[in-house]
């Protein structure tokens, strides 16, 4: 239970700069997700936090005190690895109790605590099995139990769900979130899955090539991304390039796009010279009659997905908008349609953050 602050963290592998000034902050009890594509430095950040790697610059503070000089075995952090890293020669119970045994606690207490945490993660009755004798989902829960049983100050999870199939992933995801919230442990969670990040996190750090592109709540990341990269990585998105941008207020703009003028919010600090893009999430768009429409276009693709009809509409200027229409909408390829937009869901942002 602790506030954690990562300050301007730098890490170099030989001549490759893996972390180029990462700054983050987790308040007590928060779950902070590091989200980004493979190779952007998520694991490196986590491994610096865990003490497995020594950063080349920057600092990590827990409760305001630097922990860089504390070795991994004295940091008191729980770590859950992508490949689980269960000790193959120890039973499930021995795996979970290993940390307690190192603390030289009485045998009875170890047994009780192991039993309790096994119950918590629904591993009852599997204590005597070896890791190779249980399923992937169960192994994953052993890894979780093993970290939680030590009541860590900070929980670090590196893509803990990556090796599970979709159904299990959903189940374990909520288990992790529930346990984390119940115990009030501060946690850092690495994933490259945006829906996982959105659903679980208090705060999300979208990482880009060794830097944090944006650090904010899931809602802000999704609705108010600071650049195209962030919007792209956090869900379905339509981008339109804008012809003219005029600043009308603090973070308010008026733009000309695809033949119309829009008043909308955007990232603060955009000027008329900034290369910008208009972000329209699919749910900001609605099919409508041609007269009421903001945009007009031709349907170039429509696919029935069950719960929705997926449409792609090409605008006269060449831009393409994807949206979900009502499943029984009468839309066919080649139709002229109108699109209405919800202004509060339109967002103007630079192509690349300055």
């Amino acid at each position: 239970m602790a506030t954690v602050e990562v300050r301007d963290l730098r890490k170099r592998y030989q001549d490759f700069l893996a972390l180029d000034g990462v700054s983050l902050r987790a308040e007590t009890g928060q779950l902070v997700t590091l989200l980004g594509p493979s190779g952007c430095g998520k694991s490196t950040t986590l491994r610096c936090l865990a003490g497995f790697l020594e950063p080349n610059g920057g600092d990590i503070l827990v409760e305001g005190e630097s922990i860089l000089s504390t070795p991994a075995n004295r940091r008191g952090f729980g770590v859950v690895f992508q490949n689980y890293a269960l000790f193959p020669h120890m039973t499930v119970a021995e795996n979970i109790g290993y940390g307690l045994k190192l603390q030289k606690l009485p045998k009875g207490e170890i047994e009780t605590r192991v039993y309790d945490v096994m119950k918590l993660v629904r591993l009852d009755g599997l204590g005597d099995r070896l890791p190779r004798e249980i399923s992937g989902g169960q192994q994953q829960r052993v890894a979780l139990a093993r970290a939680l049983v030590l009541k860590p100050r900070l929980l670090l999870l590196d893509e803990p769900l990556a090796n599970l199939d979709a159904r299990l992933r959903d189940e374990v995801r909520w288990l992790i979130r529930d346990l984390q919230q119940q115990s009030g442990i501060t946690a850092f969670y690495v994933t490259h899955d945006q829906s996982e990040a959105m659903a679980m996190s208090d705060m999300v750090a979208v990482m880009k090539a060794g830097r944090v592109a944006q650090f904010a709540t899931p809602r802000e990341i999704y609705q108010k991304p600071v650049e195209r990269y962030v919007a792209d990585f956090t869900g379905e998105a339509n981008f339109l390039s804008c012809d003219e941008v005029a600043v009308t207020g603090e973070g308010r703009y008026s733009i000309a796009v695809a033949g119309t003028t829009l008043d909308l919010g955007g990232v603060a600090g955009i000027t008329s010279d900034t290369p910008v893009e208009l972000l329209l999430r699919p749910e900001a768009l609605r099919l409508t009659s041609v007269d009421e429409a903001t945009f007009r276009g031709t349907v170039t693709k429509s696919a029935f997905l069950g719960a929705a009809l997926h449409c792609e509409i090409t605008l006269p200027g060449g831009g393409v908008l994807k949206l979900s229409a009502e499943p029984n909408a009468n839309v066919r390829t080649g139709d002229e349609v109108g699109i209405a937009i919800d202004h509060s869901h339109a967002w103007l942002m630079p192509e690349v953050a300055p």
Partner: protein, 284 residues
Amino acid sequence: MTLRNPKLWLAVPAIALIFVFMILPITNMIEMSFRTPGTTEPFGEEFTTMHYDRILGDGYYWGVLFRSLFTAGVVTLLCLVVSYPIAWHMSKAKGLKAVFLYACIASPLMTGVLVRNFGWMIVAALNGPLNDVLLGLGIIERPLRLLFTQGLVILALVHVFVPFMVLPINNALRNINPSLIEASASMGANRREVFRDIILPLSFPGIYPGMILVYVLAVAAYVTPALLGGQMVSYMPTLIIGELTGTFQWPFGSALAIVLSVSTILVVALFTALTAKLMERSKA
């Protein structure tokens, strides 16, 4: 499995090879060990247990057998102690460094057994380099008689058997997932505890074959004890060869060899039984 299974025919050459070069000679030796001594033939007509009675009834042979088994045990343990750190460094090496280390490790095997042992004779001679170094460092005041001692035999055997220990352990260490070490550290284990609880047990699948290999080779070593051990201490192989080529007592020599083989197998079996649980758990 039936003989109609075509894959089984693929095993025929191997079975034939094992039959001709292993089963036949061993059966032959077992049989010979129960024959009366011959005067004009390698062995006599009748069957007898007299050779075994003689060996088992004579404390001298028990002593030599014990010395052979015990010395091999010492060689094996020393080999393990020397080899483990080498294997550890090797398992961390990559690329050219790894190739270089492999070559260094294999180097004792690149010299013929006679040349190697004559080399030891020169090194360990009264006015040889080993004594020179010890004198030069002031560790000893006058040259030590190193040649023809049990210690030199053990040293020379450890030297040549190190590769057989290093390679399987190196292999086992390479197979340990590095995140296990990080995981144990994150759970509070210091370096000693990581080694004791994780690395050592998980490298057992390499330690075990290394120890068996070195033990069996050390028990059977002949040239090194014969050349470096001198006349004062006997080991089973020197005794056996003496019977076979010196006094031509083939039945008695065979009985000695069988006693040695059976004892070695018992030691190996005992070791295997004692470590079975560890092995079962630690193998990948």
